[in-house]
Symmetry: C2
Subunit: 242 residues, 2 copies
DNA sequence: TTATTTTATTAGGCAAGGCTAATTTATATA
DNA sequence: TATATAAATTAGCCTTGCCTAATAAAATAA
C-alpha cells in the first residue's frame, strides 16, 4: 500500500504545498485569494484548480470554512515539504550552496518523483531534523517534529539550545557567524540577557563566552539541544558557514 | 556571457538530447520519424517542435540533410547530457541505487535548472569521467572525453583496463560481479583469450586471476585505465556492486 | 517511368494551466 | 437596512505540447 496512489502534477503539488503552509501559519480560513497571493497567480486559476483537487479528494472546500487538506492531501503535502527540506540540506551541506540559494533549487528538486528517493536522501544526509532555515523535516511516515524553532533572543536564561538556521541571510551576518565559529548544529547556552539593550551573553560550546546584540539574537534560529531520543539522533555536526 | 541565454522547457531539452544522441550514433540523417521513435511520440508533434527549435536557432533542418544541432543547440544538449550523467553517478554512488534504477530518476533531475548546479555536483562527486553505464561525462566547458568504452571481450591480450559500467543489469550478473569483487573503477588486465569459446582470463588487481565466459566479457564495459592527465584524475574508487 | 509505399507536413482538436473581463455573492460600512 | 467594496465564480481565450486524419512529397519497386 503506497501513500500516493497516483502521481500529482507539479502544479498540483505546488497548490497542496501552499495550502499546507497557509494552514500551518494558523490561517482561520484559507481562501482562493490567499492561495493566489502565495502562488502569485490569478484567483480564477485557483478556483479551477481547487475544483480539480476536490475531485481528486485531496482537499475539502466549502465557502464557509475555506480550503482544507484531506488526509490524503496532507500526506502528499508533507511529502513535498519533506523532499524540499531534504534537498535544501543536501544543497547546503554537500554542494555548499549558501542559505539563500537553496530554496529556489529545492523548489524544482521537490518535484522529482521516485518512491525511494526521499528516504535514501534522508539516510545519506544522516536523518537531519531541520532544514537550513530551521524548519523541521517531516519523517518518512509523514510525522513532523513538533519541536519548533525560536530565535535566540527568546531562549530563557540558563537554557541550552542548538543552532538550526538563520533568518537573515545577508553575507555580513553569515560572515559574522563564521567569525564566531557558529554554524548549524552549534550548541549555545544563553547565559544572560542584558535588559538595557537586549544584548545576550552566550556560551558557545567550543569557544567560550561572547556577547551578541539583540539584532544578532533575533536572527539566529535555534531549537532545544536534544530530543527525546537523545542527541545522537541529531545529525548536524557544526560546520562552517560560508 | 552565459552559455545559455534563455532557458529551455523540459520538452525542448528532451528533443535536443535525443537529437544529440541520434547524431552521436552516427545516423546519416536525423529525420522527424527517428526522433518520434526515440521520444515515443507522433511525427506530427515532432514537426511542430522542430519548427520551434529552428526559430530558436537551436537546430538546422533541411529535408535533404535532416536535423542538425547548431553550436548553441549542441552546447545545451551537452549540458543536459552532463547533468544526466552526473546525477546518475550521484544516485549510484551516494544514494546507492542500482545501475538500472538511476536512468529514470536522472531523466527528471537533468531538467533542474541552476547555473552552478552541475559544476557543484561534479566537484562533490570528485569530477567523475564516466557515468555508471560507462558513458563519458561532458566537462563544464562542454567537452566530451573521446575515450570510448568498449566491452571487456574487445580488449587486446595483455592490455589493462578499468571497469566503467555494465551492459546487462540483471541481478544475477551484478551479484556475480560482487562475488568477483569487481565494481566501477576496478582495474583489470586481460591476460588471455581462449579461442575455443571466447572465454577470457583476467587478472584483477586485488584478487588474482580468474576465467570468465564470453557472455561475461561481453557485458562488462571498460575503458583505458589511465588518461593523459594521470590516473589520479579518475574518480571512481572500486566499490561494491549492489 | 510509373505505381506503390513510406515519410513529412498541414489542419484541426484536446487537456492542462494559466489569463482577463464580467458577473455573482459576501462582507463591511454608512 | 441599503450600499459600497471585496471576494469568488463563470465565461471565454491563450499557449504548450501532444494527438488524429488528411494531404503532399519522397523514396522505392515494378
Amino acid at each position: 500500500m503506497s501513500i500516493i496512489s497516483h502521481s500529482q502534477t507539479n502544479s498540483e503539488e505546488n497548490y497542496l504545498k501552499v495550502i499546507y503552509h497557509l494552514g500551518n501559519e494558523g490561517k482561520t480560513k484559507i481562501s482562493p485569494t490567499s492561495i493566489s497571493e502565495a502562488l502569485n497567480n490569478n484567483p480564477a486559476s485557483v478556483v479551477d484548480m481547487l475544483k480539480k483537487l476536490v475531485d481528486k479528494k485531496l482537499i475539502q472546500y466549502e465557502k464557509s470554512k475555506g480550503v482544507r487538506l484531506t488526509g490524503k492531501g496532507m500526506k502528499i503535502a508533507l511529502l513535498i515539504v519533506r523532499r524540499h527540506r531534504l534537498w535544501e540540506v543536501f544543497l547546503l551541506e554537500k554542494l555548499e550552496y549558501s542559505w539563500d540559494e537553496v530554496h529556489e533549487i529545492a523548489e524544482q528538486l521537490e518535484h522529482v518523483h521516485n518512491p525511494e528517493l526521499a528516504d535514501r536522501l534522508d539516510k545519506f544526509l544522516g536523518f537531519p531534523q531541520y532544514d537550513p532555515h530551521g524548519d523541521p523535516i517531516p519523517t518518512a511516515s509523514g510525522e513532523m517534529a513538533d519541536i519548533h524553532k525560536t530565535i535566540l533572543s527568546e531562549v530563557a536564561e540558563g537554557k541550552a539550545c542548538q543552532v538550526v538556521g538563520v533568518k537573515d541571510t545577508s553575507s555580513s551576518f553569515l560572515q559574522y557567524l563564521k567569525k564566531l565559529d557558529i554554524g548549524i548544529g552549534t550548541k549555545i547556552t544563553l547565559v544572560e540577557k542584558i535588559p538595557f539593550d537586549g544584548s545576550v551573553i552566550i556560551s558557545i560550546k567550543s569557544g567560550g563566552k561572547t556577547t551578541v546584540s539583540k539584532m544578532f539574537a533575533d536572527n539566529l534560529l535555534v531549537a532545544p539541544p536534544s530530543l527525546p531520543q537523545g542527541e545522537e539522533h541529531l545529525h548536524y555536526s557544526p560546520r562552517k558557514i560560508k
